[in-house]
């Protein structure tokens, strides 16, 4: 009976192949979202998924490309199931391709669970608000835009900027103070180069953490449409580890711009009304079904922290990919080409950067009571200093007021000493905040309006010269 069912669901009635899509006619009972197995005339196996199901017809997106498909001999078998991933605890340390097939020569997993990769929305009443400080050892993050467990915080970058170094450094150094529960890292690559993927793998390896890493790798020369699936495979794995095995998971998704381009390709093949720059109008919703899978759940021990990386075409932050991402994620780190040129690493421009969950993660008992004040004050003086810097170019240094001069000096020192650090330099939060005080102590006390007077008494001109981590 079952056999007959299977057989009857195999068709050779492909009537159209266009772009990443294929139309199969004469079908029956095809489910929306159903997984499809395709055999090319050349005997290759491919995978697809139903994008639209009509009474006698199904529109299928083919993940590995439609090259070699025809409207004659191509065989299509409807699996009767939606897209799933088989998971077990043994997945740690393994590598897969963008569709979740092992590429490390290891055996198939013996599944404990087979989960739909679409995931379901976390009920807002079930969430636990993220409030545990993650120390990344990077001053501009810990001090100015703090990361917390369960947050989704992307890196907005551009080609040639050191976003990979930064992400790898965060993955290596991230700890939660007073806890020794290990992080697992899930690494999902979409359309990045071999070198980039190797860089990450070597970095993970050098920190001796390979057995805590799961990777899903779709490289630049791998099929583009696969990228639709890759982050979902990664996040389903993350949910499994976080909420079944109480693990704290850091998910790195790179490069989300490639993901969005795959989305655009499908949308234009379907001749949908395009939104801005040809990206589909539903891209916000689609991205949210990825990013919103970060978080914590009340009563469960694990967590999912997401760090998507995306390159901004033309360094344009208003481009739909960073724009829609920023509307969903809980802040962003923005890398600046100007700082990079000046030799500042990590070249994080703190002004457009933001961590929306910072407030709950810092302060007394978490970082230090003066943290918020220090951060606000540094922001304010740095912002003013940057304004003065552009003013100086026009009016010259002489026309500056004393206040302007101090802020200008502050901005320079802030970039050179606070933001700048080594790719292996791991600063404690104490060191970061003391460094902040050291710079703020150059500003007249009365000007420090953003800091509570009692912290000024405690720290102003008292910070010991910041020693950096060994």
């Amino acid at each position: 009976m079952k056999d007959k069912d299977l057989k009857s669901r195999e068709y050779r009635s492909v009537t159209q192949v266009a772009g990443p899509l294929m139309i199969v006619e004469g079908v029956e009972g095809v489910a929306y979202g159903e997984v499809v197995h395709i055999r090319t005339p050349g005997g290759e196996e491919r995978m697809g998924q139903v994008l639209e199901s009509q009474e006698n017809l199904a529109i299928v997106q083919v993940f590995e490309g439609t090259r070699g498909l025809d409207t004659d001999e191509t065989r299509v078998r409807f699996s009767g199931d939606i897209m799933r991933i088989s998971l077990s605890k043994e997945i740690l340390g393994r590598s897969f391709d963008g569709l979740g097939r092992p590429i490390d020569g290891g055996p198939e997993l013996i599944p404990e669970a087979s989960l739909s990769i679409t995931g379901a929305a976390i009920n807002p009443t079930a969430r636990a608000y993220p409030d545990e400080f993650i120390q990344t050892g990077i001053s501009t993050i810990d001090g100015m835009n703090t990361l917390v467990r369960g947050q989704k915080l992307p890196i907005f970058s551009g080609s040639g900027l050191p976003h990979n170094d930064l992400a790898a450094q965060i993955a290596r150094q991230a700890t939660v103070l007073g806890s020794n529960e290990p992080f697992s890292v899930i690494f999902a690559a979409m359309g990045i180069t071999h070198e980039e993927a190797n860089f990450f793998m070597n970095s993970f390896e050098s920190s001796g953490a390979l057995e805590r890493i799961v990777s899903f790798i779709n490289l630049a020369d791998d099929p583009a449409i696969e990228r639709i699936i890759t982050p979902r495979m990664a996040l389903t794995t993350a949910e499994f580890l976080a909420f079944t095995y109480d693990t704290h998971v850091l998910v790195i998704l790179t490069d989300m711009t490639n993901y969005c381009e795959a989305l655009r390709e499908i949308s234009s093949a379907r001749e949908e009304v395009p939104g801005r720059r040809g990206y589909p109008g539903y891209m916000y919703t689609d991205l949210s079904t990825i990013y919103e899978r970060a978080g914590r759940i009340a009563g469960r021990k694990g967590s999912i922290t997401q760090m998507p990386i995306l390159s901004m075409p033309d360094d344009d932050i208003t481009h739909p990919v960073p724009d829609l991402t920023g509307y969903i994620t809980e802040g962003q780190f923005v890398l600046s080409r100007e700082l990079h040129r000046k030799g500042v690493y990590p070249p994080v421009d703190v002004l457009p950067s933001l961590s929306r969950l910072m407030n709950e993660g810092i302060g007394e008992g978490k970082t230090r009571a003066d943290h918020l004040g220090v951060s606000d004050q540094c922001y304010s003086n740095y912002a003013e200093g940057r304004d003065v810097r552009s003013l100086v170019a026009v009016v010259g240094e002489e026309a500056l007021s004393e206040r302007d001069r101090l802020n200008l000096k502050f901005a320079d020192a802030f970039e050179r000493q606070f933001v700048t650090q080594g790719p292996d330099e791991n600063r404690t939060i104490e060191q970061t905040l003391n460094l902040g005080w050291e710079l703020l102590s150059e500003i007249p006390e009365g000007e420090l309006k953003r800091i509570d007077a009692k912290y000024i008494d405690q720290h102003y001109k008292k910070a010991s010269p910041a020693k950096t981590g060994e």
Partner: protein
């Protein structure tokens, strides 16, 4: 025989399902789709085909599965139990959903909006023999510590009270019977209302009172009236959500309906976490006691997101009908518009600007039109209001896009968030030069009578200083500050004081988060006093450098953090300190 109550799925694509055999089905009728009975709503009809937007994920649906009509349009259940509750976009209680499907939201979950088990203590107001009409009070129930929930005769029903009960009842039990010319009309504490139709009222009235928010930038500079509309547009990270949360916390309305429309899950969790903890300055009870939340986060089904703002505004109107001032926050109306666009795209409608349907403007106007101060339905003369504050999320932060522009056309307060200000952490990042309020003239009297006649005058002076500052800034950009006359340099200092010490307001500071109107007025007077002294000193030829070096500036900068209750004492001290420091400046 054909079964007109049932059709079959013809096709499925994302949230749109087309069903055949649906002749007779009405527009906006709710249907149950597929074997799991997913909830949907018809949005287009062609002969026997019904186009259905489905409020749940459609993965796994197949052509051939049943589509069952319910005969009713998308409606909300109105009755006690709404306040303090937490719903999804189609008014399903999220806690009840969690009980059924766990931490992740499952599909096909059918839960009643109002708890059918819970008994409420019903106290009659109407008496046997009273002639009642729609909107009249039958009785009341203590819904929360602060909301006396009036049980009203539903619109369209009327008659003489034949029977009225008293005591504990569920929302489904009959509590009164009307005799409508011989017809018996049984009434419970629950009524239903279709969300896409505004509830009736007698008359719309002009706005008169401000909706005070405890936020200086709005109350002092760009007020919204009770029953008014406001929009907060801004790019990501400029402060839309924090502003909306602040308004939901501190606005002096009696009921708050907060609609999280296509935004983050954690932001809803934050509301859930903080509202039951925070005290309402107007009642002394917890903020949750006057609030209801509707959360359809970005990753929840897009069609239910489209419905969520209607669910919200219908609930708001219902409490308005009881005579309450209700404030509705919608964060973000752009996500609603995008849901509309997505569905429209699937219907293959002719796209307008940026792919939005041509009717976007009409729909937005219809929504904001449901705000207002009204003379409510019912025989008694009763006033109530719904104020609507919508966040707008323009792509790239560029306000020239269709949702911002169409919203601008219909709202009367415009609070423009500015990425530049947000980047330098000037919060709330509302641009004081481009924002406006058309309610100023309506509420001026109220300010005169309830705060002080001087208030609006000072406001005008402050605004003038800020405008002058922006002119001067342009000159400074070209030639530097040194080139300005002394008086102008002093003015820049005062402008900075207004911006930093008055307009900036820290949402997370325990004191500064809420600033009562009395304190706003005194803070303004401190700045005015400072400015007056500055002008005097300039006239006496004292240099701007010396003036801007006064110590009192630092104290003024901290006045916003002074506890609200004792502020009038602090005010006196500040005024004295200003006088004495300037006096010694003059004597030097």
């Amino acid at each position: 025989m054909t079964d007109y109550n049932k059709g079959k799925i013809k096709s499925v694509a994302g949230p749109l399902v087309i069903a055949k055999g649906m002749r007779g089905c009405e527009m906006y009728e709710v249907v149950r789709v597929g074997n799991e009975g997913l909830m949907g709503e018809t949005i287009k009809l062609i002969e026997d085909l019904a186009y259905i937007q489905v409020y749940e994920d459609t993965t796994g649906l197949k052509p051939g599965e049943d589509v069952i009509r319910t005969g009713a349009p998308l409606s909300v259940e109105l009755g006690p139990g709404i306040i303090t509750n937490f719903y999804d976009g189609i008014q399903r209680p999220l806690l009840a959903i969690k009980e059924k499907s766990g931490d992740f939201i499952g599909r096909g979950i059918d839960v009643p909006s109002l708890d059918p088990e819970k008994k409420w203590d019903f106290r009659p107001i109407a008496k046997e023999g009273d002639e009642l009409q729609g909107g009249d009070f039958l009785g009341e129930v203590d819904e929360s510590k602060v909301i006396a929930h009036k049980i009203m005769v539903p619109p369209g029903k009327k008659g003489k009270v034949a029977e009225i009960k008293s005591g504990a009842f569920t929302v489904n039990e009959v509590i009164a019977v009307l005799d409508d010319n011989g017809d018996k009309v049984e009434l419970t504490m629950k009524q239903k209302w279709p969300v896409r139709i505004g509830r009736p009222f007698k008359e719309k009235l002009d706005p008169k009172e401000p909706l005070l928010t405890g936020q200086r930038i709005y109350d002092t500079f760009f007020p919204i009236a009770k029953g008014g509309t406001a929009a907060i547009p801004g790019g990501f990270g400029t402060g839309k959500t924090v502003s909306q949360h602040q308004l939901a916390k501190w606005a002096d309305s009696q009921v708050v309906v907060y609609v999280g429309c296509g935004e983050r899950g954690n932001e809803m969790t934050e509301v859930l976490m903080t509202f039951p903890q925070l005290d309402d300055p107007n009642t002394g009870e917890k903020l949750m006691e006057r609030s209801t939340l509707i959360a359809n986060t970005s990753n929840m089904p897009v069609a239910a997101r489209e419905a969520s703002i209607y669910t919200g505004v219908t609930i708001a109107e219902y409490y308005r009908d009881m005579g309450y001032d209700v404030a509705l926050m919608a964060d973000s109306s752009s996500r609603w518009a995008e849901a509309l666009r997505e569905i429209s795209g699937r219907l293959e409608e002719m796209p307008g600007e940026e792919g939005f349907p041509a009717y976007l403007g009409t729909k937005l106007a219809d929504f904001y039109e449901r705000a207002g101060r009204v003379l409510t339905a019912g025989s008694e003369k009763r006033m109530g209001s719904v104020s609507i504050i919508g966040a707008v999320s323009p792509p790239g932060g560029d306000f020239s896009e269709p949702v911002s522009q169409n919203t601008l056309r219909v709202v009367s307060s415009f609070w423009a968030l500015d990425t530049n200000l947000a980047d330098r952490r000037h919060f709330p990042a509302i641009n004081w030069l481009t924002s406006y309020s058309l309610y100023l003239d309506f509420v001026r009297n109220w300010y005169d009578e309830n705060i002080d006649k001087e208030f609006m005058v000072i406001r005008g002076d402050m605004m003038a200083i800020l405008e002058k500052e922006s002119e001067l800034q342009e000159i400074v950009q070209l030639v530097g500050q040194d080139a300005l006359p002394e008086a102008d340099r002093a003015l820049l200092e005062v402008a900075r004081m207004i911006r930093e010490d008055y307009l900036q307001q820290h949402a997370y500071h325990e004191v500064d988060s809420y600033c009562p109107k009395e304190k706003q007025f005194l803070m303004l007077k401190v700045i005015v006093k400072f400015y007056t002294e500055v002008k005097k000193a300039i006239e006496l030829g004292i240099s701007a450098n010396r003036i801007t070096g006064v110590k009192i500036k630092d104290e003024i900068a901290r006045m916003k953090y002074e506890p609200n209750q004792q502020f009038s004492k602090r005010y006196e001290e500040l005024i004295k300190s200003i006088e004495s420091e300037f006096e010694s400046l003059r004597n030097q």
